[in-house]
Every structure is written in structure tokens, then in C-alpha cells.
Amino acid sequence: MNRPGVTFNGVWKKFRRGERHDSLRDLIPSAVRALVRGRSDELAAEEFWAVHDVSFDVAPGEALGIIGPNGAGKSTVLKLLTRILKPTRGRCEVRGRVGALIEVAAGFHPDLTGRENVYLQGAIMGMKQAEIARTFEEIVEFAGITEFIDTPVKRYSSGMNARLGFAIAAHLDPDVLLIDEVLSVGDARFQERCVERMHALRASGVLLVFVSHNLTAVLDLCNRAVLIDRGRVRFDGHPAAAIQEYRRVTSNRDAGRPADADIHLAGVEVFDDRGRPVQAIDTGAGLTVRIHYKTSRPVERPHFAVDIHRGDGVYCHGTNTRLARLDLGTIDRDGHIDLVIPHLRLLPGCYSLSVGILDTHAVKPHDVQFHAYPFSVTSTCRDNGLVSLEHTWRVPDAQPARFSPVRTDRTDRKVALR
């Protein structure tokens, strides 16, 4: 076997609306045709392309995020990769040992105990009995259900189920790990451990394909992202850029929505202090958030709001034009407003912007987009916590030479102990 990898080459997959056959009368001719010629790869009536000429390659050590709106074909792509579905046209190939997590507890049987299910699920994922036995303790400990391991799974909470499922997959030791939206289960602490584990797997050279609606997680975990929309690849590249594109695609589509709101958001751009669009910002650097809006009727004294959350949901900062005592008057045409942050004092990590247009009292929203614009903060600063507070260390009666002052890129002076 050659080196692990994923090849998706001009893959098409069709689905049928409604049921397959209505009667035995239809079945027999179509079965005979299928036998003689193989399945037809042309579209028949009631069929549509769920995946439309999709191509990408993933190399070992890469982590590919697949994002896109609901029904775009993301999960179909993943099912094609896991061989659950077979492409109508094209070639899709996964080389190396594959671990797939389409649904964490797919193989669990409610009447079996946790222990029995670990062995069953392990076998489903292609582990040998000896391998499972070797990692058994670790799996149970990772899932945190040591005392319930001999209880039937039907008495588990859904969180325990998901934890056990992920724990097995995480100890699978695969070359290629395919994951479909598993981070939505379990409590915050467990999700954190999942992400940690996936980081570790990736660092050890595992190829990761990750389908998610959690854009912040994609940004955090992946070094590349593919945007799929209506079965086609719309974008393939840096995750942040893919997310930007995703926002653009969906907000364009939203533009066609009924104008029940007099004013609505038409997009958000993020610039650095030189006016270039960015997705990654240095701690302490300047940042401009440009909010575009469209109006269908004059709106009296609206307010604009921006919230920043960290990837794990911590609320970092929120502000709006009302708090700034800004009176925007009556807005009667499309335009934009900028929020300028001269020094972004956030420590490295993944963050997301939520933006909204509120009424005169900044209470009722005209339009809001939550966590719509993820971005990452990078820095050489290794401080802990949420924000980078300006600080210096002062040691009485000592030579300052013992400490080496470190200037972070654009931050004010800081001194770090080494």
C-alpha cells in the first residue's frame, strides 16, 4: 500500500427524490439493466446531483475542513470517502487505515454493556481484539465512565454515549480520520478534550477530514478548508478565507429573502490597520470591522453592535453605537459603518464576531448574525488567559539586565521571564 492519502477525483453522486421503485413491474426491467450494463450514470427523471464534479486531494499531516450550508453535500462527500456510498462517476480513494466517525455511537447496541459495546464498536471500526484489549483501560478512562462500564448502554446518558463513542475512535490509531460533526455532543470540557485529542492525532501525522458547522473549530483545527455549496466546490484554501467565502455565499443568498426587515446586514469585512482584508490578526494590532447594510425603507436612528466571543464561547467584548452615544440619524440608503479597534488586546486563539443592527433603544434587533465571522489571533506572546494587559515586571534593587525585554510585534513593551 502506498502512503496514506485521500483522493477525490471528479466525483459525481446522484440521488433520487422520493422512493426508488413503485412496483415490482419497474424493478425487474431496471434490475436486468443494472445487471447487464451496470448502473446508468446519466440523470433520470426525479434524480439530482448531490455531489457535482468534486475534486480534492489531501496529503498526510493535513487537516481538511469541509464547510458549507445545510444540504450542500458535505456529509455525502464524507460517506463517499468511507465507502458507505459509491460514486456515480469519478474516483474516490482513501489509502491507509481509515477511522470514521459519522455518528459517534452508530454501532452501539442499547442492551449490551459498555464493555461489550467497546469491543463491538472497535471491531466495526476495524480494530483487532488484541488491540482493543490493549487500549481498553485508556478508552474507558478517556470517556470517564469507569464505574459504569458493565452497565447496559441503554441506561447511559446521551453524553456518556457520545463520550464512549469518541473515546473508541480516538484510540483507533488510524492513518486517516474522517469526522462528521461530533463536537456538538458532550459538555464543554469533553469537547475541549476532543479537540485536544484531534490536535494530538494531527501532530502525529494523522490525516484529518473534518465536516462541521462549527466554523471556529474548523479554523482552529484545520490547515485547509473546502467550501461546498449545492454539491460543488466553491473554494479550496486557507480555512479563514474559506469561511469568509462561505459568509459571502450565504449572505448573497440571504439577500434574496423577503424584506421583512427594513434594514439588514449585507456582509462584514475585517481589515488590518493598513486596510488589507485579514483573517489572522496579531495581538495588539489594529483592526477595523466594516459592517455593510442594505435598507428597503428609511430606518430611524438604528444602532450597530459587535460582540466578540472566544472559540469556546467565552464572551470577550461587546459594544454598540448606543453605548458610544452615537446618533446615526435616519438611514435611507445602503452603506457601511466601521468599528475601529486600534489595539486588539486579545491573546492568541480563535474568536468569532457577531454583528447586529438594533432598533433605537438597542433592544430589538433588525438583523443579527451570531458567530458569523471567525478570525484568529496570533502572537509571539505566551501569556495565559484571555486578554493581554499592558504590564512590566519590576524587581527592587536588581539589575534589569537579568531580564531580557521582549518586544512583541506591534505591542507595547513587555518583559517576559525566560
Partner: protein
């Protein structure tokens, strides 16, 4: 000519696939079988006793019918005749009962995980085979009770079991696949199974039917298989070679065709559950 060579190349590739997959996933087959066995008798008091209980009760009922109500001549004591027929028929019937729903009851696995789908009907066979083994201990007991001597034709039994399993597997693959596309199969096959039992020499020798219907019933491959068990186990004779060879050929051909069809349809399963 080209079509033929393309088709045969595809056939070879498919067969290789089928064998390689089964070897790769043998662990899973064992696990799924263990799961089904465990589930079958979990929370039951009698456990494996159920594998014996059903054919025993049936034997008692048919013994009353065919020794008191409508006595018939059999080469060996009737209860022995009936139990031998019932426990071998039971293996076939209970496999089908499990196999027919094997894909539809494992929906989450069929749609969410990749594995060769043959595993589900195959595990139905293995589970029933374990029951069959348990039930045959009673047959041994009955043979001892009636002081039936055994002879060298006994060496033929593994061949009969192999043919029996092949035929059962062929039908099981067809049923599992068919029920996935048409849920009517589950109901239809219960009726067919009941009729089929009385069209096979399970509780009476099929020759007694005679006439044109009797000739038609000779086409049933289950009869030579069950008759072969009786001949080798109870009568110290070789099976009637003509009918048995025909049944064996049908079984092998059926299994080959069913498996190949199953393998080719496999990729549509996830879309049709």
C-alpha cells in the same frame, strides 16, 4: 466477444473483493454473531434451552398427530423421525427469520459505517448454527434412547451440513436484500416458510403425497438435504445420491448467484434503508 471478456473480468474482480473483504472483516463477523447470540438470550431464564424447547414441543405435537390421529409408517420411531426433520428444518427457518430483517434492523450500521454488508445475514446463519448445534444434542439423546446404532455413513454428515448451510445462506442473502427494497418480503416469506415446511419431508415422508404434486415437490432442494440427514444418522445408509447431488449443485449455484448480486447491490443499501 468483448462484452463477455469485460463481464468476466468484472466477475473475477468482484469475487476477489468478496473473499478479501470477508477475510479482512472476520473479526467483525465474530463480534456481531456474539452480539446477536448474547442479545437473543439476554434477560431470558431458559437461555439456550429455547433452542431445544421449540423443536421438542413440535415433535410432541406431531407425534400425537402422526401416531394416534393419522398413523404413518416411518423407517425409525416417529419422534426420532420428526425431531431430526424439525431440528434441521429449524436451522433453515430460523436463519431466514433473522436474515430477512438483518439489514433493516441494523440501519444505523448500514448507513453510518462501512463494512461488507454480507456480515449481517452471515451472522444470522452463525447464530442459528449455534442453536442447531445445541438442538442436535437432543437428537443424540433420542438416538441413544431408541438405541439407534450408528455406522460409517456418518462421515458424510459434514458434507450434508455444508450443503445445508450453502442453501440456507443463498436464500438468506436473497431475503435480506429483497426485504431492504420491499418490506412486503418480511410478511410474504412467513407464509412461504409455513407452506414450504409442509412441502418438505420434515414431519412426514414427502413420498406419501404422490401424484403430480409429488413430482413437483421433488424440485424442492430441502427434501434431499433433510432425507440425507435421516439416511446417514438414523438408517446407516448413504443419502440417495441423485437427488442429493442435484440439491448440492442447486445450493452452490444459488449461493454464488445470491452473493454476487448482494455484493453488487451493496452500495445501494445505504440509500434504500
Amino acid at each position: 466477444m468483448r462484452t463477455v471478456s469485460v463481464l468476466s473480468a468484472r466477475l473475477v474482480a468482484d469475487v476477489r473483493d468478496m473473499v478479501v473483504e470477508q477475510r479482512e472483516y472476520r473479526e467483525l463477523l465474530v463480534r456481531i454473531t456474539a452480539r446477536d447470540l448474547l442479545l437473543r438470550y439476554k434477560q431470558t431464564v431458559m437461555g439456550f434451552g429455547w433452542a431445544i424447547f421449540m423443536p421438542l414441543v413440535n415433535t410432541a405435537v406431531f407425534s400425537v398427530i402422526f401416531t394416534r390421529v393419522a398413523p404413518i409408517e416411518t423407517a425409525v420411531p416417529y419422534p426420532l423421525f420428526a425431531y431430526c426433520g424439525l431440528c434441521t428444518w429449524n436451522f433453515f427457518a430460523s436463519t431466514q427469520r433473522f436474515a430477512v430483517v438483518s439489514l433493516t434492523s441494523n440501519t444505523s450500521l448500514v448507513t453510518k459505517v462501512y463494512c461488507p454488508r454480507e456480515i449481517f445475514p452471515f451472522s444470522a446463519i452463525l447464530v442459528s448454527l449455534v442453536d442447531f448445534a445445541v438442538a442436535s444434542t437432543v437428537l443424540v439423546g433420542l438416538m441413544a434412547y431408541y438405541r439407534i446404532p450408528v455406522g460409517w455413513p456418518l462421515v458424510f454428515v459434514p458434507v450434508i451440513v455444508a450443503v445445508h448451510v450453502a442453501f440456507t445462506a443463498g436464500v438468506a442473502l436473497f431475503l435480506a436484500m429483497a426485504n431492504l427494497f420491499y418490506r412486503d418480503i418480511k410478511y410474504l416469506f412467513e407464509i412461504v416458510l409455513a407452506v414450504w415446511m409442509f412441502a418438505t419431508s420434515v414431519v412426514y415422508p414427502i413420498e406419501r403425497i404422490g401424484g403430480r404434486l409429488g413430482t413437483l415437490l421433488l424440485l424442492n432442494p430441502m427434501t434431499p438435504i433433510i432425507d440425507a440427514y435421516r439416511a446417514t444418522l438414523l438408517e446407516r445408509q448413504l443419502p440417495a445420491m441423485g437427488p442429493f447431488a442435484a440439491a448440492a449443485a442447486v445450493s452452490v449455484a444459488l449461493l454464488a448467484i445470491a452473493w454476487l448480486l448482494f455484493h453488487r447491490a451493496e452500495f445501494q443499501f445505504a440509500e434504500n434503508v
